[in-house]
Symmetry: C2
Subunit: 302 residues, 2 copies
Amino acid sequence: MRVVMLGTSASIPTPKRGLPAIAIQRKAELILFDFGEGAQRNLLATHLGIDRKTKIFATHLHGDHILGIPGLIQTMSLLGRRKALDIYGPKGIKDFIESILRTVRYTLTFPISVSEVEEGVVCKEPEYEVHAVWGKHGIPNLAYALIEKERPGRFNPERARALRVPVSLWRKLQYGESVKLSTGRVVLSREVVGSPRPGIKIAYSGDTRPLKSVEKLAERADLLIHDATFDQNLAEKAVADGHSTAREAAEVAKKAKVKQLVLTHISPRYEDLGVLLREAQKVFRKVQVAEDLMEFEVLYRE
Amino acid sequence: MRVVMLGTSASIPTPKRGLPAIAIQRKAELILFDFGEGAQRNLLATHLGIDRKTKIFATHLHGDHILGIPGLIQTMSLLGRRKALDIYGPKGIKDFIESILRTVRYTLTFPISVSEVEEGVVCKEPEYEVHAVWGKHGIPNLAYALIEKERPGRFNPERARALRVPVSLWRKLQYGESVKLSTGRVVLSREVVGSPRPGIKIAYSGDTRPLKSVEKLAERADLLIHDATFDQNLAEKAVADGHSTAREAAEVAKKAKVKQLVLTHISPRYEDLGVLLREAQKVFRKVQVAEDLMEFEVLYRE
């Protein structure tokens, strides 16, 4: 899965950082976590394509996390999009989108569905789900995790040949069924198919204090993208503003046993990112500080 | 007056061009014509400062011309602005701003006033007015002109001395009054003060077909910033979409006898701007194609 950090600043854009947005390309689909002002410009720059099946998951209703959606809708319409756009977010997101559609003079070319969601499973697809838990911020914030279902185990053709299973029966075995050979011998699926392989899991905190619930949501994720607005010198401000420090984000990553941590929502005050990186690395080694257009290829574990 | 092109693309942002916005610094005040998505980022980059007395004049309610306003409001609030923000635009702008303020979770720190305006004088200040005329676009579009009042003529101290006017009476003469000397001689203001000097005039078309009314609005302007979405090869598309070609913009500038023309709202299809520049130059010599962050210093004529 390809993950692109479209915007990595906190609250106010800087010359180098746009407002929060993350793009995930999963097969033919585009999954967006937050979509701050200006994110469409970076999305266009990635050449991910904006005519894909698309879902947007907004963490909360602060402007910097959602104000790119209206412009994306306009651009999609200008380009003649036909595919539906699905938007998810906490209570209030519906009123926001409906107000925009009513007051901005669009010529909308595609259907938009908006779902107000809460903690729990907020989206079910055949191959994945999106789960959410409440964060702790000034206003309701949902942390999300994209959780792929297990994929079937790998089929072992050598083993099937050794058991003299005709090729015509392989498919059944591959999909979990047992088959009976002409010799009367019954071959079980698990004799020729390996254990189910884990899917990919990507978690995103939105704006939040470090939380046990987010830690649980992110458990063993391949990638955790976490609020790291401040460094430890501003630990009190982090508490007051409902954000996390780089060290706190690293502690969540460590306890959740994730594979990789990306720090984002970086306060415009930091020109030297080393401060954030170093304090996180002391707690959790596999960490990077996000930059706009930074990309990650999240690979399947075998 | 300092004029900065904050965004110069048509409808969709490109890697080089943001969505329509123009900033004018007039003394301590900031006057914005349109404010498309992402414009705040370029405004911050100009170091014009965003805590000035500020007016925004929106030409029309297409998203690319107004969707930067919500983010600007958020940033101004985060920076603790106290000064009022005045927003002007055609009917519907009020509903747009009010909906945004209702649905986005701001902590607003300053008052916002929104005025729905029509053709005519839309704003009167002691030193300038803003006039508007209807353009011709798919939806109602107002072209605006910032028109400074005449400034008093220049005081001629040599002449005053020659007439033996005591320095204590100079101020009265300067402000248009006559004075009586101890000799009984009456000195008229115009004997020592030159003719009133013209103020600066800057006109902006918004999105429109070339129009006689816009030409009249821009008459003898120091600077005309005009829609030039297409070149003449797309003249029919310009008619269909309610835009102008570079040549049409130049024809307006020529007839209006403006000092300087800037072409903006450039379709993303143009990588070579020479096409637009050359066809405009054939009609009107003093023309430039806008780029993001291009600046003009508009000087007083003496």
